[in-house]
Amino acid sequence: MTDPFIKIEGLYKIFGTDPESVLPQVLEGRSKDEILSETGHTLGLKDINLSIEKGRIFVIMGLSGCGKSTLIRHFNRLVEPTKGQITVDGVDVMHLNRKQLESFRRHKMSMVFQRFGLMPHHTVLENVAYGLWVQNVDKKTRTEKAKQWLKSVGLAGYEEQYPSQLSGGQQQRVGLARALCTDADILLMDEAFSALDPLIRSEMQDQLIELQEKLHKTIIFITHDLDEALRLGDRIAILKDGELIQEGAPAEILLHPASDYVEAFVRDVNRARALTVETVMKPPAFRITAETIGEALEQMRRLPVDYGYYVSDKGYQGVIVQETLEEAVKEDAADSVSEQVFEEVAAIAPESLLEEVLPETLDKDYPLPVVDSGGGLCGQLSRSSIADALCEPQGKEGEPQGKEAA
């Protein structure tokens, strides 16, 4: 495969008066607390390695003080690392001089801040156009582009207002428009929605997802909220005390937490909203492919269960229950399988969330068929697999007690 779009290798950050002198001790593997008590230096980030693909939302998650805000500031060198390599689209960011770095920040990346970081003395329009103003773009182009982006975040008509006249959600929309206005490939979002109340936050998440579908930016999103991470992220990295604990797709993190720390994190998540059908479904076991009712019954009797998914050349057709087949055979065993014998159970899509399919699954006595967009049967979702997925953390929690008893 080609090189990743953004690559971070062996990144260390130590805060204090003389970070270089402390670095050897960090490399030896001494702990954060030891270093703090012996040298008075704070270990901010420790051996971070990340590869980020183009056009994806990469979420960096952790509790406050874990170094996530420090980490995101390394991408555009708002914070200088003590040691490490940062490569963005083939450019070695660490070797840019001041002028090159300014140009890199102007054209390659833009940033959205937790407390918005808007200029209080500029109007909304001027704020959105700020990145272009920095680039010395002429006023006409600036105004035109800024107006267009304000419109696409739903704030047309607010051009001449000042940020203090706007609500938090509106201010962050201005922040987002400002970030998009420079046409940078990469969007750094530092806890961009954390200061907003929950309803506005989920609205903003929807808007970001919607925009991303059109724009395909590479987004690095910092958050402390796992629900938000799971909702937005194509990949999630979990940070603790400046160390990378786990990196993977959302479902991977949910279903296979790498450590107790991640597991504790994952426990409170609403799994039904975070997991998709794809991640918990089983391969479809019971296909009925026969042409006639008699043959179908033959197939059915060989199965350990009394239902099957009827699949023809055109793909999935419906569910057949043994009882119906027995009835139909009495009339004419040679008759072909038709709508009369199978039940047209609506299939579910592999990418839908568990939450959406939960009622249907509970309604039926047999597992629901999962059918992809091409019409092919790709899996089945039973009540018990849903139950397993949703209850996993509690089950694991019970384990140590069981051992004690033994």
Partner: protein, 299 residues
Amino acid sequence: MAESSWFTDFPAMERSDLLTIRKTLDAGYREFSRTYGDLIESFFDPLLSFLVWFEKLLLASPWWAVILAITFLVYTASRSARLSVAVMIAFLLIGYFGMWDNTMRTLSIITVCTILSIALGIPIGIMMSRSDRVQSIVTPVLDIMQTMPAFVYLIPVVMLLGIGKVPGVIAVVIYAIPPVIRLTNLGIRLVDKEVLEAATAYGANAWQRLTGVQLPLSLPTIMAGINQTIMMALAMVVIASMIGVKGLGQPVLKSITNQYFTLGLFNGLAIVALAIMFDRVSQAYAKRTQRHLGGAQHD
């Protein structure tokens, strides 16, 4: 005998030694001022000619033109009709009580001192805000400038440049410049870190950050500094009159030595009128330019 005396009397240095120190320093400085006095004086020549020109302009223009001009400036800065009318009345009264010429002289020297203080003070304040080291050097110097009795630094200035307008301006600027430096420094240091970080993240260079973010956002604080500087310059007018600065200070000085209470009071009131005018106008201007920062609240 000699041993016990240090216990009761402070072991001070010999009188003759002290005398030598004083003589050496005084002679050294006198030598310095004789050698370089003319050179330094010629360095201040442009300032002097500007001062003379500005004073002549105010004195030579007809009184009604000056009052109209001042009222117009006050209105442009403050957009307050009440303030403008009050200023006009104050100047009419000053003229009626026969203090017109002295007021014009004071007005000219205060204006020049303020412009000079701002022109020097804001860049120094900016440098202080950019480096903790500069701040740690400049702060004690400012402390000395503010606490050292004005008379003490009048002596070397007079020795160097004689008496007259330029030493007066220097003395006033030394006394009045600290607030604008301190508050420029403070204002820039208090600018919201995230806003500044946003500017940096969008690739703004140092100049764009300074002019686009730091100065505009610290303007209220800087304006408070300028306001203080003007007030202190006005307070210094009487002391400056001791070294030959003409204006409202001289009659006050005359009233002290001759016990003319009423003369002192009138001229003192004229200084107060000028002070209030400068204060209200600069504050109204600052408030007007900052209206969007906190005035309009979203509900």
